[in-house]
């Protein structure tokens, strides 16, 4: 872009910025908390859903349909990326990092896995939940393909298991939704069965199950994304 075009866009953007700033400062800065729906949620979320963490209560119970849409977005991104990057040539294995790094990660990966399982299952008690835990699970597969080379990742965590995990997780989520209908309620109803007291692990009805399902689904999805991205090929990628 020539110099003048550069300057013009900067001037136009700063003018736009000034108008936005003036407009945004006119909003009353006191957020009327009373008449908003969060007042109801804060007051009786623990009774209705059993989850102590209100953000997880909203994500996986009050607005669980949003999280279904959300995990479909990730599913769509994954199938889009696989559609584009499914190379016809044989993936060449990148040969991983030095021995020291491999040994340290050998010791570290189980704890990362444990941490992500903790984040997923304790979604309704402490901060965290299916999405964040699932991304950490995906990070483990990223570690595999960087530190140990994508061929190691290919053998340990084969693409078929990844697709099975992802699509299985998604179908399980819809199954959990229909389970709500089976119990006489509506789609994605929170069945408060096997409820062992307030703060215990399995205490918020279907929220922990939705958490684990989403966690594994996102972990597998990110593993697929990263695996199909990291592949290197020798010659020019073959077309359709």
């Amino acid at each position: 872009m020539s110099r003048t075009k550069h300057v013009i866009t900067v001037i136009v953007l700063s003018l736009l910025g000034v108008t936005m700033l003036v407009a945004l400062n006119k909003i009353p800065n006191q957020f009327e908390y009373a008449n908003s729906i969060s007042q109801h949620i804060v007051n009786n979320a623990v009774k209705e859903t059993g989850s102590l963490n209100f953000v997880t209560a909203i994500l996986y119970d009050y607005r669980a349909y949003d999280s279904l849409g959300e995990s479909t977005i990730i599913f769509g991104a994954v199938s889009g990326i696989v559609l584009l990057l499914s190379r016809k040539t044989l993936p060449v294995s990148s040969h991983g990092l030095s021995f020291i790094v491999k040994r340290t990660f050998g010791m570290l990966t189980p704890f990362i896995f444990l941490f992500s399982i903790y984040i997923i299952t304790h979604g309704h008690l402490s901060p965290g939940g299916g999405f964040q835990g699932g991304v950490i699970l995906g990070a483990i597969s990223i570690i595999f393909s960087i530190v140990y080379g994508s061929e190691f990742d290919y053998k340990r965590y084969t693409p078929t298991t990844k697709t099975l995990l992802e699509t299985g997780g998604a179908l399980l989520f819809i199954g959990l939704g229909f389970l709500g209908i089976l119990f006489g309620g509506n789609f994605l109803m929170n069945m408060r069965f096997l409820n062992m007291g307030e703060g215990s692990l399995i205490s918020a009805g279907s929220i922990p199950f939705i958490n684990t399902v989403i966690g594994f689904k996102i972990g597998a999805g990110l593993a697929i994304i990263f695996y199909s991205m990291i592949q290197k090929t020798f010659k020019e990628g073959v077309d359709l």
Partner: protein, 112 residues
């Protein structure tokens, strides 16, 4: 007042990156900065100075932060991550045909 200024500054910085920058990867970075700006602005708007929206038992805590914006932003962050990872795949794909990541040969964002 400060938060609105930060939001507008970051939002337009990202917008500037998309309009002007030569490198496609820089444009995706600008997109991420725009999304981060909106999410941070939403949190500052609805921050009542309350405590973390997690209670340790069923007694009602009065002064809690609003949990709904946090749920919306969590969904937004994950949407932003999947859109930018797909955009980057398209950039890898484009690089097979043109050896540079310069959007000008794309005919630029504005002209057809």
């Amino acid at each position: 007042m400060i938060n609105n200024f930060v939001f507008v500054a970051l939002f337009l910085l990202g917008f500037y990156a998309i309009l002007v920058k030569k490198n496609l990867i820089k444009m995706v970075i600008g997109l991420n900065i725009m999304e981060g700006a909106i999410f941070y602005w939403f949190i500052t708007l609805t921050d009542r100075g309350g405590t973390i929206p997690i209670v340790n038992s069923s007694q009602v805590v009065t002064n809690l932060n609003d949990p709904i914006p946090q749920a919306l932003i969590l969904t937004g962050i994950v949407i932003g991550a999947s859109t930018s990872s797909f955009l980057l795949t398209l950039i890898i794909e484009l690089n097979k045909f043109t050896s540079s990541t310069n959007p000008d040969q794309l005919g630029g964002m504005i002209e057809d």
